[in-house]
Amino acid sequence: MTQASSQGYICAFACRWCSLLGAERAGRDRLELPAGIRLIPVSCAGSVSADHVIQALTNGAAGVAVLGCHLGGCRHNDANRDAHARLDALGALLETVGIDRRRLLVSWGTAHEAEQYAKLMRDFAALLGSLPPGLEPAPAADGTPEKNPPAGPDSAPEEDAALRDQAAEAVRDGGAVLGLRRTDMGVVPALFRAEEELTDLTAGPKWPMAKLAGLLLRDRALGEVQGVEFRALREEAAALGDVPLRVACRACDARALRELVALRQFPEETLSILPVPCSDARKEACDCPRPQWPGEELPPEPETSGDDLAAKAEFWREQFSRCVQCHWCREACPVCVCPSCSLDNPSLTPLGPQGSPLGYHLSRAMHVADACALCGACQDACPRHLPLLKLHQAAARALRTWRYASGEKRLSPLRAERCIAAASGPAVPQWKHNLGGK
């Protein structure tokens, strides 16, 4: 079809209580508006999800506008503030992959303000026109996956010995240990009940233990084994009954397991960890930002400038062109807990040659942004070694600016109300670009 404008259309989500009426009135008053605005009524700006924005941007929209009521004027308990935080995090993520965050406009206005709406849209269209074209979506890669990723350095014998000592203690107390067993085929996860079995227990190379432990602990909480992954081992664990279970895992896995507690997958008291320290070689090999047990700080945000965008766009275009859409990153992610994933929706992530991996990766990063433990399981699992952790770090950094970090006791993920100082009260509102001007 013909594009209404050479720059692509503007997709405008408008709250049906205020901005939509303002926009409709602008039309009724025949105010001059840029061509090609697709106005989408929503029940509240709070209902606009990151997926919506990503979907619009990957379907030819040059820009997305999210228009809600004035801050303090939302009839739905300030849901527009929620949207603000959520979309701000998304803006940071977009910038990471080389898309100018000014393409996402968040603004607050009311039904009275038709003229302000028209001006805002004209300015937005002008801004979009002045931006250089963004990222060409990468063509989907074909062919077979590259060989399995290297598992990284293996554990030293003395590390294994230290772990075995601790495990022996747990087993002697009548408990069971979930850990890695060294076999001829490499390491596999296993349950250890008797001291003599522990000779095979190893700290091993890095292995996504949190994924398995999460499933296992959830089974315990639910009292039944649901799903097919690791079925045999999980049934073995279920047969243990009430025997205390300790999970031998690394700091990153432990972080992920704590996230699962926050996601209400199992009660905190059922989680008991046998710490596996990371050797210096391991730390070197990992992109993990916090290999230390109480480890804290995220790496500093790299300096960005406008010119960087093009370089980033090129970098990610090249990276995503190698994605084979196997979705192993999702399967390995310990905090992906949905029984059915909305990313399997073919309208969002079409598979095959016509599919662009960009939308899938951005959406996935946003889905887990508030729970991501930055464990790197996704990137370890990737057969093409895409640097996926960079995406998650960007999202985590953006949430940090809203004073939220995963692992903290949360009231609500991606929710701004408690992030924005409560004292902010009603703002003196105006239609303006609320995200781009940073």
């Binding site: 079809m1 013909t2 594009q3 209404a4 692509g8 259309y9 997709c11 409709e24 602008a26 039309g27 009724r28 025949r30 001059e32 061509a35 090609g36 106005l39 989408i40 009524p41 929503v42 029940s43 509240c44 709070g46 209902s47 997926d51 919506h52 979907q55 941007l57 990957t58 379907n59 030819g60 929209a61 739905h76 308990n77 849901a79 929620d82 949207a83 898309i99 393409r103 028209a118 931006l131 963004g134 990222l135 060409e136 979506p137 996601l263 209400r264 997958q265 807990v337 949905c338 029984p339 059915s340 909305s342 929706n345 969002l348 016509q354 009231l411 609500s412 993920p413 991606l414 929710r415």
Partner: protein, 562 residues
């Protein structure tokens, strides 16, 4: 089958968006041009006069003006014929034809076609979904003061099963304590008699310890002499009232004889009015001190009832002993409205003296064992006045009861800094954050008996309405009605949706197996926006999947990201 009813709008639309061009742009759509689709009669006529009638399974998009103009009416007309999930509106007038009137016609037609295709894509994804929440029919009224009694009485009158839980042995609350009520000076006993509790299940001497959400209903733990009984209710009305703050040693209360609280004066006056013998005699030189422990930094609020109560008691005292002198020291006499202002003027006419004092802390009560005088702060010219007094009456505010805090905690209701429960001011002040929970009386803010009664009645109507709408099929629920729900099979139980609501509106334990309760005023769709599984659904609003489908409806050929 895709059918587009194109409203030519008497030439208003067809002049800028020619039917033929639109037909060309939408080759896979059966386009029917007509006029006045927003009028039910003519819309029916259009549908009936089709040579080839539309099959019942057709997906119909009406391309017309915006919802805020007549689009909503056109949609309503079509819904008479087609199921709700099979019709949608594409606004091609306010969102396309008019703002791009100056643009090239080809672009305009393309834009209109894109908007229509988006509506079809939405419909592809839309389907009738309904859940039948397991729900209890009855309403629980907590607190048997005037508000609670009015609520229970109204609910019973409307035929709703209602239970009234009152902590004390008998209902009545303030009506049992007060003699006469301002501004009309009616007898509290008469007002109580006007709120019959016929048909109400009265649980006197029962304390509601906690109320929790469970499986689509409220589970109340009610404690009486026999023990704790759990009971299920569909709606809850919180009418736990407020309690007076005591003067707490201020102005010699407790140490000087003759310093009493307004409540004690009220009791004394009632006794004398009844002709009962009282140990204390009526004061002859009374000084009322307003705003004791109120409107200061510790309690930064005006209690609403103290000024009218003081004026009422001043008038009663004057009526019983006309020679008594009454002086009311006040920061402001808060007597808003017609009736209260009239009462205030009446008191001035009757000789009650009102003195303005900026800061009550500058007032000194003097006496030796018994009150003798009240010394006022210096006036601008330096003069100091001392009032001769044999009685000082302290007007103290009301504060929330511990029950309010307990219920707020267990039910997830919001409270202000002082602990009064918050509704959705200003348009829906009695609706709280909790699903099917309504507030009335002094639990929200100190209220006169008459206000409390009105609030009780209003809360009762809202509860009755809520219980009825909750049983409606999803597609008949009004726009602002209850209910968002979770598709069980897709839910991981992570609780992001719960967090996106105010905490306490629903509880995690129930997430996996039952509908998620929306709050009446929330309904924003945040739950759906934060749900990564696509399990949260807000009926009546376009679902995220529908929106996603709409966005993917017009992929640009070059698929370029801007």
């Amino acid at each position: 089958m895709k059918v587009c009813l194109f409203c030519a709008c008497m030439g208003t639309l067809s002049s800028t968006l020619p039917e033929a061009a639109l037909r060309e742009a939408l080759p896979d759509v059966r386009l029917i041009a007509a006029d006045r689709l927003c009028d039910a009669a003519s819309c029916r006529k259009v549908l009936e006069s089709l040579s080839d009638p539309l099959p019942p399974h057709a997906r119909v998009v009406v391309a017309a003006c915006s919802r805020g103009a007549r689009g909503a009416q056109a949609l309503a007309c079509l819904k008479e014929t087609f199921p709700l999930f099979a019709v949608d509106l594409a606004d091609i007038r306010e969102a396309c034809a008019w703002p791009s009137a100056g643009a090239d016609q080809r672009e305009r037609v393309a834009q209109a076609a894109a908007l229509i295709r988006m509506a079809f894509a939405r419909l592809e994804r839309s389907r009738a979904e309904r859940v039948e929440p397991e729900s209890a029919d009855g309403a629980l009224v907590i607190g048997g003061g005037p508000a609670g009694m009015a609520a229970a009485s109204t609910l019973a009158g409307l035929g709703v099963p209602v239970t009234l839980a009152e902590r004390r042995p008998a209902p009545g609350g303030m009506l049992n304590q007060l003699g006469r009520l301002f501004p009309r000076m009616e007898n509290a006993a008469d007002v109580k008699a006007s709120l019959p509790l016929d048909g109400v299940e009265l649980l006197a001497g029962s304390d509601v310890i906690a109320v929790r959400r469970e499986n689509g209903a409220w589970l109340a733990e009610i404690r009486d002499a026999k023990g704790v009984t759990p009971r299920r209710f569909g709606a809850v009305i919180v009418a736990v009232g407020a309690q007076p703050v005591l003067p707490g040693g201020k102005f010699g209360s407790g140490s000087l004889k003759g310093v009493i609280s307004q409540m004690e004066l009220d009791t004394l006056l009632s006794a004398v009015e009844r002709g009962a013998k009282t140990p204390d005699k009526l004061p002859s030189r009374a000084v009322f001190i307003q705003c004791v422990n109120a409107r200061d930094d510790a309690a930064p609020y005006c209690s609403n009832v103290c000024c009218p109560t003081a004026v009422k008691n001043a008038l009663r005292l004057k009526a019983l002993s006309p020679d008594a002198s009454v002086t009311v020291l006040n920061r402001q006499m808060v007597m808003p409205g017609v009736a209260l202002e009239a009462m205030y003027r009446n008191a001035m006419r009757e000789g009650v003296r009102f003195l303005h004092v900026d800061d009550m802390n500058d007032v000194r009560v003097e006496g030796d064992g018994t009150v003798q005088a009240v010394r006022l702060p210096a006036s601008p010219d330096g003069a100091i006045e001392t009032l001769d007094a044999d009685c000082v009456v302290c007007s103290t505010p009301l504060r929330p009861t511990p029950a309010a805090a307990r219920l707020a905690e267990s039910m997830g209701l919001r409270a202000d800094g002082m602990g009064f429960l918050l509704g959705h001011e200003p348009a829906h002040p009695l609706e709280s954050d909790g699903e099917g929970t309504f507030l009335c009386g002094s639990a929200r803010w100190p209220a006169f008996v008459r206000q409390a009664e009105d609030q009780g009645r209003a809360a009762a109507v809202m509860a009755a309405r809520y219980l009825r709408e909750r049983r409606m099929p999803m597609d008949e629920i009004p726009e602002d009605g209850p209910a968002a729900f979770i598709r069980e099979a897709r839910c991981s139980g992570c609780g992001r949706c719960v967090d996106a609501w105010a905490p306490g509106a629903c509880h995690t334990a129930e997430l996996r197996n039952s509908p998620l309760d929306a709050q009446p005023r929330r309904r924003c769709g945040s739950c759906a926006a934060v749900c990564p599984c696509g399990a949260a659904v807000l009926p009546g609003a376009p679902s995220p999947r529908e929106i996603m489908a709409a966005l993917g409806a017009n992929p640009s050929p070059q698929r370029r990201l801007a």
